[in-house]
Amino acid sequence: MKNENTIFSTHDLAVGYRNGSEQVILLEGLNLALERGKLVALLGQNGAGKSTLLRTLTCDAPAMAGQIKVDGKDISSMSQKDRSRLIGLVSTERIQAGALTVTELVGLGRQPHTGFLGRMDEDDRRIVRQAMVDAGIIGKADSYVASLSDGERQKAMIAKALAQETPIIILDEPTAFLDVASRIETMRLLQTLAHDRGKAVLLSSHDISQSLLLADELWLITTDRQVLTGTTQQLVADGAMDSLFNNRDIHFNPNILDYSF
């Protein structure tokens, strides 16, 4: 499963949370690998542990066991600053940045690379501009973040992650609050970033049919707490898609790439 393109990998990783003194393990024994230039979609039903897995991968939650490595180096032994140059995050957290311009917001993505006071030089400004071009938000460069639509806001956050110049981008439900057109646009953008920019992109999504169409690879969290990985075609052919939900009446229909009764 691993090859020379692998940049991000987990080794017998267990994820979960602590409830007082007791550990609740949601998923364990995970040996996952993320490759450069690939768009990977993480799918699973609510409560399956998608968000916890992503929080663990971005070091927002501690691993319950095992290791996470970037280019063979354990990320738990890295400084926060080093990690911030390897993994860029896009989440759906509420932000207070309405009175920043899009350029200022995307400029925050340069923080891992700037000095103590965060001053940007010509190079930084050029990278910020290019990130806004790549994310298709350059037309709104001088607009307030508060004036953006949900789709535009997501593009601005993706531009922030691009300005961060990390080889890995992790997105927690990036299409959750978007309408259909913005969802497809966002997924297309992420696909382009993976294929043309060589980024390793991992996103979690509720949106099965679009994930299947555009992702190169899927990570499926099944109802019996396994994580199945593979290309879309493989997993569909194996019937793995039916292990995603508990309900016996819902079946995956390969013809429409979605679930039906």
Binding site: I95, G98, A99, L100, L108
Partner: protein, 344 residues
């Protein structure tokens, strides 16, 4: 365009600062002709000993105290609003001032009649009061950090701050009931809020601590801006969120405690001024917000000082003036929160 607006705002706020300082120099409870004031400032003396003393030992220290205290409280408010992600946070509403006040009360009432004047000229006694204020403010900040981890709601945190204020004032009342009359009198006078309480001898300590803490806040621009995106994004941008928050709250505590110890628990400036700065600049970017907040805070406090001492019937307490300026601004913010950029 944004840069232009910033430059114009900073120049305007600086001009207002100079004008208000001059007005505070020229107008007060005693009429002193302007040419004599110029003589006093140039070192020649006015020929009237009392006037010399009023200008050099009363008005100039008051101007410096008001400007520094206003800047300090406003920066406290700004740092609290960003760290707690709460536009209605401020040192007085969150109970930080009351905590400092409780510390002050314990020291003043314990020292009782031994204090001369408001804080006492005695280095030992006002240092004791300063330490009391720092410990009190620090204790409230620790309580707020603990509660902010448990209650996620912004409104609830404000209510906890208000409850803390009630609690500290009830403790102060209990202390009053066993204190000497002079101690109680000193404490009550302190509670009115006053920019005339810092003597020339105390000024280096007061100004030194505030200037250092203001510089420290300006060095925190990078984590402050990252925290606008919330703690998860901030961590992802390489910010050590826990450490940054502790540093920011330490700066806040020091600023609030020093001002509270010397000037009394002054309300509304810390809450309202950051909003004046945001509204006039149209940004949440702290690299611009911090200078504008310092200047606007100094302006508002000088305005309060000017009004306070220019009443023919005696001095008006500062705390009787700040709500008149602060409340309309807060109401404007609350009523327009859908329209104002930084709430969205």
């Amino acid at each position: 365009m944004n840069h232009c607006r910033y430059v114009i705002t900073v120049i305007a706020l600086t001009l207002v600062l100079v004008l208000l300082a001059l007005a505070c120099l020229a107008f007060g409870s005693v009429d002193i002709p302007v040419d004599r004031i110029v003589d006093i400032l140039s070192g020649k003396g006015s020929g009237n000993k009392a006037w010399d003393i009023i200008i050099l030992q009363s008005r100039i220290p008051m101007i410096a105290t008001a400007a520094l205290a206003g800047a300090a409280l406003s920066i406290s408010g700004l740092l609290l609003q960003t760290t707690f992600n709460n536009p209605l946070a401020g040192p007085s509403i969150l109970g930080v001032s009351s905590g400092a006040g409780l510390g002050v009360a314990i020291v003043i009432l314990a020292l009782g009649g031994s204090l001369g004047g408001l804080l006492g000229e005695n280095m030992g006694s006002y240092m004791a009061i300063l330490v009391g204020a720092l410990l009190g403010a620090g204790a409230v900040l620790v309580v707020l950090i603990a509660f902010s981890a448990i209650v996620r709601s912004n409104t609830m945190l404000l209510i906890i701050g208000i409850l803390v204020s009630y609690l500290t004032s009830s403790v102060v009342q209990l202390l009053n009931s066993v204190a000497t009359e002079e101690g109680v009198h000193n404490y009550v006078a302190w509670g009115f809020g006053n920019f005339s309480g810092v003597s020339v001898a105390q000024m280096p300590v007061f100004a030194g601590i505030i200037v250092l803490a203001l510089i420290a806040s300006a060095l925190m621009v990078k984590p402050l801006n990252a925290m606008l995106l919330g703690s998860r994004y901030a961590r992802n941008l390489g910010v050590n969120v826990t450490r940054s928050r502790n540093v920011l709250l330490l700066i806040t505590g020091v600023l609030t405690a020093v001002v509270t110890a010397f000037c009394g628990p002054i309300g509304f400036i810390g809450l309202a001024v950051p909003h004046i700065a945001r509204l006039s600049l149209g940004t949440s970017n702290h690299s611009r917000l911090i200078p504008a907040t310092i200047l606007a805070g100094a302006d508002i406090a000088l305005l309060c000082a000017l009004v306070s001492v220019n009443n023919p019937h005696g001095i008006i307490p500062i705390n009787a003036i700040t709500p008149i300026i602060g409340v309309p601004i807060i109401l404007y913010i609350i009523l327009n929160r859908r329209r104002i950029q930084y709430f969205n």
